[in-house]
């Protein structure tokens, strides 16, 4: 219920936002000296761009009901079929990267929290600062350059040229091999911030008396960190995790564009700039769904990681 | 003939917590119908088995926990019907020293801040004045003013306990509930605080509800003892009566289990 309302709100407000932004999809055609103004007008009329906002929104809703998710001006076809295959690829990339990033950040940040002051602390501080100081695009290009210089990894795409002819196992390997670079880019992009959060909250929790109590019982240090300090520190991390699901789609835009990953990224970016609005709404709605899911999950996890949180009462 | 109404009257108070361990686990009935009356200026000791619901009752009385059913009348007002702002004046009149006071102290605050917190909340005095009062209170519970800047975790267990007591005393409530406030204090400090409480009672007519396991101390401090067992008050009566003529088996068990305390052969002269 909340979800439906939210979707309605997101889509309606998106319509309004686009209305506010200057230019529409067909504006660029005006630059082509061979196309007359009348033709552009006719096209705009065909796609209903000359209609008032409520009517356009109504039309879009109708098309949503049909499962088409609107109609792309650029592709001249319904948005749905354009979205699904790319969404799958994007999710493959981003889910892998997010999982990896968390798997990396949580132990690393936790371990880091125990190494306050000292060479490891200094090294990690410097490294994360450096990664944070790099614009994402530079990072991605840098990785790409590395791939070219070394020839270790493919520099783009999701599959090799002869992918279709490969046996099943080799295909999986092929895709995994192509995943390395974009995933590395994403992970390097996300991890510094994550590690910092983990470190900060775990360091906080390590000062609690129950940690000393656990040590007093001879609980192994690893377990003290991961089963005592970390759960107590989980709160902001859980919220962050919920949000990271939401960020999945937008996160990989850039990486996909530069590493030519056949995901939503290039499509979405082009659509935004071209004001191919229904096509923009597709990923927006998809990420709203992920957002809802992520936040729901986070709320459940929050209650699970901290039993003191009361959901009812008061 | 119209007797003075009691300060607190509790009737049919119950509190159930959702059960643990499996979905269908039965609910924990922490309070199973409590009836209790506290007259003004009296001292009641609440004694009973561990887990019998004493702290729960204390928290319900202080309106820090919502009872499942029942009624609490404080000074003629139905306490449970009050909420939000209308409750605030009563909060001032009822103070609770929570059991495990260590967790009830904000680890980020300093000792003096903790003690002056109620004054700040109630808007008493200016900053200087409050601090002065806080230091005074700390001294009365045996904490040197030099420790005003310590954080709770830099104090010993007993010192934290005393900090919590000092904080509750800052308010001058009508009803003070002390949940295991004496646990962890040495005899000298216990005596010091006990006489402080007695003194306050004499001057301001406070009513005390003690929750404690120390039957000997309770025998000293309270006029009346209520024995709790499994969420109920199973026996209530004057101290002397309970100690000399316990009726309920649980009361008897409690008394029997008190280890005899050595008394110095020759009490040293003062």
């Amino acid at each position: 219920m909340h979800g439906l309302l939210l979707l309605a709100g997101v889509s309606l407000l998106s319509f309004v936002l686009v209305e506010l932004a200057p230019g529409d999809y067909f504006a660029e055609m005006r630059l082509d000296p061979r196309i007359s103004e009348a033709t552009v007008h006719a096209l705009r009329a065909r796609y209903g761009l000359d209609r008032p906002l409520p009517e356009r929104y109504g039309r879009w809703l109708a098309s949503l009901a049909k499962g088409e998710l609107g109609y792309s001006f650029a592709y001249g076809q319904p948005v749905g079929p354009l979205l699904w295959p790319r969404l799958r690829n994007t999710l493959l990339l981003t889910v892998t990267a997010t999982a990896l990033a968390w798997l990396l950040a949580v132990p690393l940040g936790t371990w880091w929290a125990t190494r306050r002051r000292g060479p490891a602390d200094a090294a990690l501080t410097g490294l994360t600062a450096m990664l944070l100081a790099l614009p994402d695009l530079v990072l991605v290009l840098g990785l790409l350059l590395l791939a070219v210089r070394t020839g270790w990894f493919p520099t783009g795409g999701m599959v090799s040229l002869g992918h279709e002819q490969m046996p099943w196992g080799a295909r999986v390997k092929d895709v995994a091999f192509h995943l390395v670079l974009p995933v590395a880019a994403l992970v390097l992009g996300i991890v510094p911030a994550l590690v910092r959060y983990v470190r900060a909250s775990v360091a906080d929790a390590l000062g609690a008396p129950f940690v000393r109590a656990a040590r007093a019982h001879g609980i192994p240090e690893r377990r003290v960190l991961f089963r005592h300090a970390l759960p107590a520190a989980a709160n902001p991390l859980v919220s962050l995790f919920g949000l990271s699901l939401a960020g999945l789609l937008s996160m990989s835009l850039l990486v996909e564009v530069v590493m030519s990953w056949p995901g939503l990224g290039p499509l979405f970016l082009e659509a935004i700039l071209a004001r191919d609005f229904h096509l923009v709404l597709g990923p927006v709605l998809a990420s709203t769904f992920l957002l809802l899911g992520g936040n729901l999950l986070a709320d459940l996890l929050l209650a699970a990681t901290d039993p003191r949180i009361r959901t009812e009462e008061r | 003939m119209e007797a003075e109404p009691p300060l607190v009257r509790v009737s049919g108070l119950t509190k159930r917590y959702p059960g643990r361990g499996g979905r269908r686990a039965p609910a924990v009935e922490a309070l199973a119908g409590i009836d209790l009356t506290l007259t003004r200026g009296s001292d009641l000791a609440l004694v009973g088995q561990s887990g019998s619901g004493k702290s729960t009752l204390a928290r319900c009385l202080a309106r820090l926990e919502e009872p499942t059913s029942g009624q609490i009348w404080f000074d003629g007002t139905d306490l449970l019907s009050l909420r939000g702002r209308r409750l605030l004046p009563f909060r001032e009149r009822i103070q609770l020293i929570l059991q495990d006071s260590a967790t009830a102290l904000d680890p980020r605050l300093r000792a003096a801040e903790i003690v002056s917190e109620p004054l700040e909340v109630l808007g008493r005095g200016d900053r200087r004045e409050r601090r002065r009062r806080a230091l005074e209170l700390m001294e009365t519970v045996g904490l040197p003013a030099a420790w005003a800047e310590r954080r709770p975790l830099e104090l010993s267990g007993g010192q934290r306990q005393r900090l919590a007591i000092a904080r509750a005393l800052a308010v001058k409530p009508q009803l003070l509930i002390l949940d295991e406030a004496f646990a962890g204090l040495d005899a000298s400090i216990q005596a010091q605080i006990a006489s402080l409480l007695r003194d306050l009672q004499g001057r301001h007519g406070l009513t005390y509800l003690y929750v404690s396991h120390d039957l000997v101390l309770m025998g000293l401090l309270a006029d009346e003892v209520a024995i709790m067992f499994e969420g109920r008050i199973v026996e209530q009566g004057a101290v002397a009566r309970i100690f000399t003529d316990p009726r309920h088996p649980h009361t008897r068990a409690l008394l029997a289990a008190v280890p005899s305390r050595p008394t110095p052969a020759a009490p040293p002269p003062p």
């Binding site: 609690a208 008396p209 129950f210 000393r212 109590a213 040590r215 019982h217 001879g218 609980i219 089963r227 005592h228 107590a232 990681t305 039993p307 003191r308 | 643990r20 361990g21 499996g22 686990a25 004694v47 561990s50 887990g51 019998s52 619901g53 495990d100 001294e139 045996g142 420790w147 830099e154 010993s156 267990g157 010192q159 306990q161 949940d179 962890g184 204090l185 040495d186 005899a187 000298s188 400090i189 216990q190 005596a191 007695r198 396991h213 000997v216 025998g219 000293l220 101290v239 002397a240 100690f243 289990a257 280890p259 005899s260 305390r261 050595p262 008394t263 110095p264 020759a266 040293p268 003062p270």
Partner: protein, 327 residues
């Protein structure tokens, strides 16, 4: 044969902020023999908890051991590596913390917190550890251990939490337990049960106990020896009947005098409250150069202000630190 635990000349300072270091434990020596129960008694804030923490190497960052040695079964604990210390803690020496609410992880169920202690020291299956935890919970007086097992600390009463902490300490059947007011918030029947349990363990496994308590009754019932601490130092040591029956040190005397006596229905209330020791406990950061109890002492002597008294061993085997008895 050396004692199970030998503490020699232990001195612990707290350095908080920029002030002078606070002397929490001052040149303290004590022994605990195998199977012995040693009661530790002392004013609030005199350094008991600090001592126990120091023994297990658990002092906070702001504290540090200035000097002294701590030997357990002949091994110097101060020089043990982290892993060795870890193997020792909980398994051979365990500790019961004073405030159970702080010692339990608030976001985890308590059962696993008990089982985990077993798991840390025994190569047992998860299930067996769980069963061990349940039986341990039953031993400390829970009639429905399953419910407690699945509860979070905040869902337990104060006494229940305390019993959980005791269960943790007992879980691996250690040789020595450092107990910091283990029964402070337990009703008398449960206390009695626990005393019985400890007694049984002691006779069966030779458990030794260093028991911090303000409850003289409990100490009298359990302890073989009682130590009295004041301002970081041992001021008196002896058998419970000796110390309680005939305290020597002025502090011990004052303490005993402050004990509440059984109710006397006839007397007026004011009279019934025993007299506290006058004055305030000294600030460990500014201990007087002489005897720390001197400012509050009713029988002070001229040397008291000049230098701290030395320990005197009396004929009946008791130790006392007071100029009255030599010093």
């Amino acid at each position: 044969m050396p004692a199970l635990l030998e503490v020699r000349d232990l001195t612990v300072h707290y350095t908080s902020g920029n002030g002078a270091p606070a002397v929490a434990v001052d040149e303290l020596s004590l022994d605990v023999e195998e199977g012995e129960v040693v009661g530790l008694l002392g004013e609030s804030g005199c350094g008991k908890t600090t001592l126990l923490l120091a023994i297990l190497g658990l002092l906070p960052e702001s504290a540090h051991v200035v000097k002294g040695s701590i030997r357990f079964r002949g091994r110097e604990l101060r020089t043990l590596s982290g892993a060795e210390l870890r193997g020792l803690r909980g398994a051979e020496v365990s500790i019961i913390f004073q405030e159970p609410a702080l010692a339990l992880n608030p976001v985890r169920r308590v059962g696993p917190q008990v089982a985990e202690v077993v798991r840390a020291h025994r190569r047992w299956s998860r299930r067996r550890c769980r069963e061990e935890a349940l039986s341990m919970l039953a031993e400390v007086g829970f009639t429905a251990p399953e419910r407690v097992h699945d509860s979070y600390p905040h869902e337990l009463s104060g006494g229940e939490r305390q019993r959980v902490v005791i269960a943790q300490a007992l879980a691996c059947r250690p040789a020595l337990i450092l107990a910091d007011e283990p029964t402070a918030s337990l009703d008398s029947t449960t206390q009695a049960e626990l005393r019985a349990l400890l007694g049984a363990l002691q006779s069966r496994f030779g458990l030794a106990l260093l028991l911090v308590s303000h409850d003289l009754g409990a100490l009298a019932a359990l302890a073989h020896r009682v130590l009295v601490m004041y301002a970081g130092r041992l001021v008196e040591a002896g058998g419970p009947t000796q110390v309680f029956g005939d305290p020597l040190h002025p502090y011990s005397r004052g303490l005993l005098r402050a004990l509440p006596r059984a109710p006397d229905p006839a007397g007026s209330r004011e009279q019934r409250i025993p007299p506290p020791i006058p004055g305030m406990s000294p600030d460990p950061a500014h201990l007087p150069p002489g005897c720390a109890f001197e400012p509050r002492c009713p029988d002070r002597l001229p040397p008291c202000v000049e230098r701290p008294p030395q320990e005197t061993r009396l004929a009946d085997g008791r130790h006392v630190r007071c100029f009255k008895y030599g010093g």
